[in-house]
Amino acid sequence: MLVVAKDLLRLATIGSVDDGKSTLIGRLLVDTRQLFDDQLDAVAAASEKRGVGDLDLSFVTDGLRAEREQGITIDVAYRYATTPTRKFIIADCPGHVQYTGNMATGASTADLALVVLDVASGLKEQTRRHLCIAALLGVRSIIVAVNKMDAVDWSQTAFQRVVDEIQTLSRQLGFKKVHIIPISALLGDNVVETSSNLPWYEGPSVLEALESSEAGAWEHTNTQGARLPIQWVLRQPGGGRTYAGMVCGDTLHVGDRVTLLPANIETTITGLNFGGEAIDEATVGLAADVALAAETNAGRGDMIVTSPLPQVANEIHTTICWFGERPLHVGQRLRMKHTTKVSPVRVKTINGVIDIEKLDVDESTSLATNEIGLATLNTADLMVVDDYRSNRVTGSFVLIDEATNATVAAGMVGRASFL
């Protein structure tokens, strides 16, 4: 059963506030006729009520009262679109620095980032921060929409200046595929159809670039070895047990030799099921359940793996995006959720903070809100981890405030090559 659907592309919009992310998504949805008549009427009525013209396209995704009052995006809006070639899940992310955690939420499951920036102002610090976070999160292809071309009289010189800046940064961050497209989200040029106002541009429109981008990239990382983090133990009629979880990394088959970690028990898969029905193999992304030959006391938080084996450790070197209101400091106690396992952790050392402008690591002993840094964590329990670059599921975790249960950090095992 194939679960990595090639017909479904997940994208996130990123970039600084007021550069036109929501307007571009509104334009894309309207021009590909994804909106129903009543939804368009509602956007028109809201636009009129707030005196912002006939149709403020940003209102298509900025659906909260506060967002419309302030004219900004506060949290991610998810929208869905279908064209003749594929389906899209679009996460329209906020641009403000104070909502960086929400942006990371939207980008963490994206196959592709749609970067929007204003041609007149180029790469702002916040756009650089978002690109850096997207690269850390493992997004490998980006479409950069250089917006507001109408305001610079469709000038190729203005566009080229920004292109050079973007290409330099993209190389540093290691993006594999980069489309840079001059557009006007407001007027629709190069959004769905290529525009006659930009005769010097010969590339695709934003939609054409989206339709030709690789889907399923989120699951498809440089994986080696299958992993099944156990979510739940199912009792089978007749007394046996199966271990339920979502497969990642590689396909599991009946008969595969596997290791149960951290107990380090070698055994064989004797059966695979989905929804109570027996299957021969479980591909990446399938919520399956597994029967093992060995009698074990395996439970939630343990992991069934094939070689090459992941690390089993209680000291982990990590990259952290810190969203807490107060700074993160050495010695701080938190709770980690990693795959299906929750463990208390303590910050052993903070090994530096990332300078967004230079992409260097500066010395620091704490991380302020929305800073990204390197930290070594000690965990109370033994954790089964892969480097984030080889497996996004077993290489990622969140940190949780023990008192409020708030999610205060996104973490990745290891360190990006550009740092």
Binding site: V3, V4, A5, D7, T32, R33, F36, D37, D38, Q39, L40, D41, K49, T61, G63, L64, R65, A66, R68, I74, D75, V76, A77, Y78, R79, Y80, T82, T83, P84, G101, N102, T105, S108, T109, Q231, W232, L234, R235, Q236, P237, A244, M246, N273, G275, G276, G285, L286, A287, R300, F323, H338, T340, V393, S396, F397, V398, I400, N405, T407, A410
Partner: protein
């Protein structure tokens, strides 16, 4: 206003099974995570198509075991009888425990004002729902809400935190990264979990067809006495009495969503099979809630306002 004459969507995407498999596994994963992390989950079941899909997925997630949580219906007392019949048959078939929380009880306790037999009880449900969550000490409630339904729902996390008053604060949502869903709450707080967040109306129907699921009969085209009120066709019955200027018409209709009988509109339709319904939805010009829900038409942020108070 802009005309939306034809959709660019092909009638029957040939690739449907691929993305349905992905959505299905994702939903099953969420169901298991919440059950593992929370002490006392419950699944909200209205008998509508979305909660029917949700319950079907829950059964798959824990097969061959019984459902490890009860199913709860918030009963406004203004239901379509076909939907109640479907509710009871479905719950009996899977052997689930059904909790029914009645808006009438909330009214009898004097907690809310009785809007009368013909008035809408839609908003009162919130009080009944929050009371039932408190009384049963539920710390997680699964719902069938989808992000494509409404612009406020488009903003909500898959696990949506509710404070001790049951309120949703759209400005203070927990970051929800990757597929790391964390549902830990302190006593008195709870989470709402929406495993169908990324499903669209079309996905729901294609899945129902693929899984050969049963549904309440009112989703399929049938003849019915209706009156036109506020631009919607309402079914004449105990909760909708025709007013003087509302002539009764007998028309072939179906319901695109299922809510209370007095605020859910029927659509004119000949679609009497799943296949015909899928074709109809693929070409629809009006959204599901726009076509059928009076409760969302009061203001620009009707859904956000109700959700802040603790609505589904």
């Amino acid at each position: 206003m802009t005309q939306r004459t034809m959709t660019t969507t092909p009638l029957r995407p040939s690739h449907a099974t691929d993305h349905l498999d992905l959505l299905e596994s994702h939903a099953i994963f969420i169901l298991r995570e919440v059950v593992a992390e929370c002490e006392r989950p419950v699944l909200l079941f209205s008998g509508g198509k979305d909660s029917a899909v949700l319950l079907h997925l829950a059964v798959k997630a824990f097969a061959p075991q019984q459902l490890p949580f009860p199913v709860m219906h918030i009963d406004t007392g203004q239901n379509f009888p076909e939907v109640l019949a479907f509710r009871d048959a479905t719950v009996a078939e899977i052997g689930a425990r059904l909790v029914v929380a009645k808006v009438q009880d909330t009214i009898d306790q004097g907690k809310v004002v009785d809007p009368g037999l013909l008035g809408s009880r839609n908003r009162l449900q919130t009080v009944t729902l929050l009371d039932a969550i408190n009384d049963n000490i539920f710390d997680a409630a699964f719902g069938g809400a989808r992000r494509d339904e409404d612009k406020a729902r488009a903003k909500e996390r898959i696990l949506s935190f509710r404070d001790t008053f049951g309120q949703w604060d759209p400005r203070q949502q927990r970051p929800e990264l990757w597929q790391l869903y964390q549902g830990k709450v302190n006593p008195g707080e709870h989470v709402r979990a929406f495993p169908l967040s990324d499903w669209t109306e079309l996905d729901i129907w294609q899945y129902i067809e693929r899984e050969k699921m049963a549904l309440p009969t009112i989703y399929f085209a049938h003849e019915r006495d209706v009156v036109k009120r506020d631009g919607m066709w309402l079914a004449v019955g105990p909760f909708v009495e025709p007013r003087e200027d509302e002539p009764i018409e007998r028309l072939t209709v179906r319901f695109r969503t299922v809510g209370d009988a007095n605020c859910t509109g029927a659509v004119l339709s000949d679609a009497d099979t799943l296949e015909a319904i899928i074709d109809e939805i693929t070409l629809a010009n009006v959204s599901e809630r726009g076509a059928t829900r009076a409760d969302d038409k009061f203001s620009e942020t009707a859904m956000e306002d109700r959700k802040r108070e603790g609505y589904f």
